[in-house]
């Protein structure tokens, strides 16, 4: 069987198993509709540290450790950790794994990090290079605001198109063999940039990247969207989701089974998050918490997870650049037929 099919997709020969997930979130996420699905809800935004950057690393360290534990593995059994976040120089992830002593691949694809980590992690396993890896992605509301926009202390008003960065970390233990759910395919995104320049409208910037990787996935796999019970994008939010459906419609695909983690993670009526949730943690905890259980219990048979990322920085926005975006599609199935 050919592993690389079509233009951008790999199909795994011996699909790696997701043997455990660990999800840790902050208070606001713990008040949202998915609250009961998380492993840990921390009402301390600083996670016992003295800065939001350290808080994110502590949250990730705990999630990685828990993901190994829940898979009945020692940390020493984890052969690679692949992780990404939003902070400058990825310090959310690097300081998280600093004391863990495991081989580490730092990744950056903004909020699509869990998609990149799961895709590469599954390749490492199916390629025969490891038996157990952990894929991890995190974000922290305060850290992201400070990094990309304004320190919270300024009380800057947020426009209605803005999304709310999830304080959360999802870690996913991926193993050779196992009883599933299985990662069966991955379509790696190319960067798409349709000229959106408003860093407070990331949904609009990312929707074309999500549409692009979805079309490639359906073409490469020669399937229709209905192949999946759910197609879950990462953090398009309300505005980005509407745009995605429109773009897919124009491309000839009817996405009736679409959900967006950014629209699911908060109660958008009551929680004042404007366009929805965003951040690397958004797709990571929504998948690791909610969707993983749905797959585990058979309520979902097949899903396509499509984390989305906006690849700008403060410097590129200040220099008048538009926002390049990317999305990675990961197919996950409850059982192998």
């Amino acid at each position: 069987m050919e592993k690389h099919i079509g233009e951008q997709t790999v199909r795994f020969q011996n699909p790696p198993s997701i043997t455990a997930t660990a999800t840790i979130v902050g208070q606001k996420e713990g008040e949202g509709p998915l609250a009961k699905h998380y492993d840990i809800i921390s009402n301390d935004a600083l996670f016992g540290t003295d800065s939001c950057e350290k808080a994110e690393s502590e949250m990730s360290r705990q999630a990685i450790t828990l993901a190994a534990q829940k898979a009945n593995l020692q940390l020493e059994d984890i052969q690679y950790i692949l992780a990404g976040d939003l902070l400058n120089q990825e310090t959310g992830s690097t300081f998280a794994v600093r004391d863990l002593g495991r081989p580490f691949f730092g990744l950056f694809s903004a909020c699509s990090a869990i998609g990149e980590a799961m895709s590469l992690g599954a390749m490492i396993i199916d390629g025969g290079f490891a038996n157990h890896i952990i894929a991890c992605a995190s974000s922290h509301f305060c850290g992201a605001e400070k990094t990309f926009r304004f320190p919270l202390e300024l009380g800057t008003q947020r426009p209605p198109t803005a999304s709310w960065t999830v304080t959360g970390c999802g870690a996913v233990t991926i193993c050779a063999g196992g009883v599933g759910p299985y990662i069966t395919a991955a379509t790696t995104g190319a960067i798409v940039d349709m000229g959106i320049r408003d860093a407070n409208n990331m949904g609009a910037a990312m929707a074309p990247a999500a549409a692009h990787v979805l079309v490639k996935h359906f073409q490469d796999m020669n399937i229709q969207p209905s192949h999946y019970d759910v197609i879950a994008t990462g953090d398009l939010g309300k505005i980005g989701s509407e745009l995605l459906l429109q773009l897919m419609n124009e491309a000839g695909y009817d996405l009736t089974n679409h959900k967006d983690c950014g629209c699911m993670i908060y109660d958008t009526q009551k929680q004042d998050v404007h366009a929805g949730g965003s951040g690397c943690g958004c797709a990571a905890v929504t998948f690791g918490g909610y969707f993983y259980k749905q797959l585990k219990t058979g309520k979902l048979k097949r899903m396509l997870l499509v984390p989305t990322g906006a690849l700008h920085s403060v410097a590129t926005i200040q220099q008048g650049e538009s926002i390049p975006s990317i999305a990675h599609a990961v197919a996950i199935e409850g059982s192998l037929n």
Copy 2:
């Protein structure tokens, strides 16, 4: 044959071939001792753009395009680009590949980026997921100073322990099959942090990480340093290199065949670079320019490339954190026996 051996090493079953490299550097690097080995020396530090960030992306875009060309491939044949740099949110790399339309994995491991990219790239090829990938790493002196230290306009004095960030990009085309040189093994580093807090002494921060991955590599492979003609670290500079030799000595290894790209890339007597060269581009262009030719012409039979990275950010330094470091070892052999 087991692909994962020992604790942190993979040995490739069908070692991927490095079919081409492309190297582009700035003026200062073009005045250094390795000048004749680079493909392009640009005397325009801005590479025709209006900012140092855009300059880095333009340099990388050209290097990636050239690396495909020199391998007699169309850009469309490149199934994945893996790239990393030092700028916030990796915009050096993402804006470089923005218009190339290729599936993209963004990586972050600071100045060890080319080691991470070549390790993962070789796994993707040997795992059967692609036939052609490009691994790429870049840095730009002005961008790095602005990101990590001070804008150049301030004219801030640099201490003698400081290194000089290389303006350069190295892109490496890695393919299934081919005539070599071959990537035969990769030891992925774990983070090591010995408590160095001085961001102007990265050599001292990184030397323990280099020593750690070297010891793991020798143990996992059951070989001695003399197995290689050259063991080339990325950017330890003078101070870090001395520390490395001392640490390796204490671990029972005599590193008589050690070179450091940071000590090779500039004339440290004449070019006023203090401790030596650094940055993602340092190992990338020194390998892609100088060492690759040595392997190609048989002057070197086996080398171990060990790019080194300091994983701090401005925020972590300001918060009093020490500098976690990492190094990735990649074994490259001219021919397979």
